[in-house]
């Protein structure tokens, strides 16, 4: 993909997006894993231990990867847009009124 003036403004190349995009996406809130119920229990050690699983902020990701915060935000939002599958929404049209989702019935068009 061609690089834009926005890429240049943030000092991000398409190679960087290809190399770091998935990692940034996975470290962000887009994927969340919680172990136990640490916030409700105010288990401070578990809250700290669970931060990475629950998704890091762009600032925290930038610190880990040695990037600027703006670069992480730029790459993350770009990847979010590219991965957004608009075709899945239509699955809702067939659900409700007693009908539940069954993967074996799915035929996305």
């Amino acid at each position: 993909m061609a690089e834009t003036s926005f890429h240049k403004a943030f000092g991000v190349s398409e190679d960087m997006v290809a190399e770091l995009g998935d990692q940034i996406f996975d470290l962000s809130h887009n994927h969340q894993t919680r172990r136990g119920d640490p916030v409700r229990e105010l288990d401070w050690d578990a809250i700290e231990a669970g931060r990475v699983g629950m998704g890091l902020t762009d600032g925290e990701i930038a610190e880990r990867l040695g990037l600027e915060v703006d670069q992480v935000t730029f790459i993350r939002t770009l990847v979010e847009g590219r991965r957004f599958h608009t075709g899945h929404y239509k699955r809702l049209y067939k659900l409700g009124g007693g009908k539940r989702y069954r993967p074996e019935r799915e035929t996305d068009k």
């Binding site: 996406f25 809130h29 887009n30 994927h31 969340q32 894993t33 919680r34 172990r35 136990g36 119920d37 916030v39 409700r40 229990e41 105010l42 401070w44 809250i47 931060r51 998704g55 890091l56 902020t57 762009d58 600032g59 925290e60 935000t73 993350r76 939002t77 979010e80 847009g81 991965r83 957004f84 599958h85 608009t86 899945h88 929404y89 239509k90 699955r91 809702l92 049209y93 067939k94 659900l95 409700g96 009124g97 007693g98 539940r100 989702y101 993967p103």
Partner: protein, 305 residues
């Protein structure tokens, strides 16, 4: 003008504030522990990042759908299934009430996204406020908060410079319900996991019937619940179409035409549109006071003694 000072009993003030919330239609209300909030929320999303002199965070919850709504097709529910507007109205009024009555600066906490961070990062976690205020506990359904009596609610918050005594988080988590644990033991999935249209939920339950792990693919969930994100993709697709015919189809196919309709009428149906995990949740749909019919029946039972 000399600033007036009034003596305020924090306990009485809290009672009056939470009473206001309930009178205006909230089912639950509480005060989150500010120190805990500041410690848990990441930098940039702490209450003090919005309001530097904040002393208290008040959270409230309003009821979810009517009982009838759960019987509807998903495409109808997508237009009105969420009831968060009512929560925002109450908190907006509450901020005014606190300033007027206690002369303490207050704000309605915006439930919206941080404009510097795209469409998936909120300014504040309203969920965290509600959880710490004891209004709900995190579920296996992507951490949606559930309440043992009221089920599934919508939350909103007020920040104030008035010092109020905080509440505690819930002592127990109602999720998973016993029937969900039974299903998990047999199939490895709870109803919310099984019936999610994009399979964005997974997790595990321990031997004691408590949540061990919760996995949430928020990006997949967004495809069903945040249709405003579709707009950019549709526009880009139309602009990049190779032929005029392809562009025409991109803009005029039925599901995309619906987007233009929703935008033109300012429909809230561009967000929070999928309820399939909650539709099959026994706590959301069958908690003792989960909907107006159940609450009315409980009130009648109480009258009968």
């Amino acid at each position: 003008m000399v600033k007036k000072h009034i003596d305020i009993d924090p306990i009485e003030a809290k009672e009056a504030i939470l009473g206001y919330c309930k009178k205006k239609g909230a089912l639950v209300a509480g005060v989150a522990d500010l120190e805990a909030l500041e410690r848990i929320a990441p930098a940039g999303h702490r209450p003090s990042d919005l309001m530097p002199r904040v002393k208290s965070v008040i959270s409230l919850g309003v009821g979810g759908q009517t009982q009838g709504a759960w019987t509807l097709p998903a495409k109808a529910m997508a237009f009105f299934g969420s009831t968060e507007g009512r929560a925002y109205t109450i908190t907006y009024g509450l901020a005014f009430m606190i300033e007027r009555k206690y002369l303490a600066r207050s704000i309605y906490c915006p439930p919206d996204i941080d404009p510097e961070l795209g469409s998936r990062v909120p300014l504040q976690s309203i969920k965290l406020h509600a959880e710490l205020a004891g209004l709900g506990a995190r579920s296996l359904a992507g951490d949606i908060l559930l309440h043992p009596e009221y089920g599934y609610m919508y939350f909103a918050s007020v920040f104030t410079e008035l010092d109020l005594p905080p509440d505690k988080p819930m002592a127990e988590n109602p999720c998973p319900a016993p029937s969900c644990t039974d299903m998990y033991r047999k199939t490895g999935q709870t109803p919310c996991m099984k019936f999610c249209p994009v399979q964005c939920l997974s997790g595990s339950i321990d031997e004691d019937g408590r949540q061990a792990e919760m996995h949430y693919d928020m990006a997949a969930c967004a495809e069903m619940t945040q249709q405003y994100e579709t707009l950019a993709t549709v526009m880009a697709g139309a602009m990049n179409a190779e032929t005029p015919e392809e562009r025409e189809v991109m803009l005029h196919r039925p599901e995309n035409k619906t987007l233009w309709y929703k935008m033109s009428v300012g429909s809230g149906g561009l967000l929070a549109q999928c309820f399939e995990c909650m539709r099959v949740c026994p706590i959301a749909t069958r908690a003792p006071l989960a909907d107006p019919i159940l609450r009315a029946q409980a009130a009648l039972d109480q009258e009968d003694g």
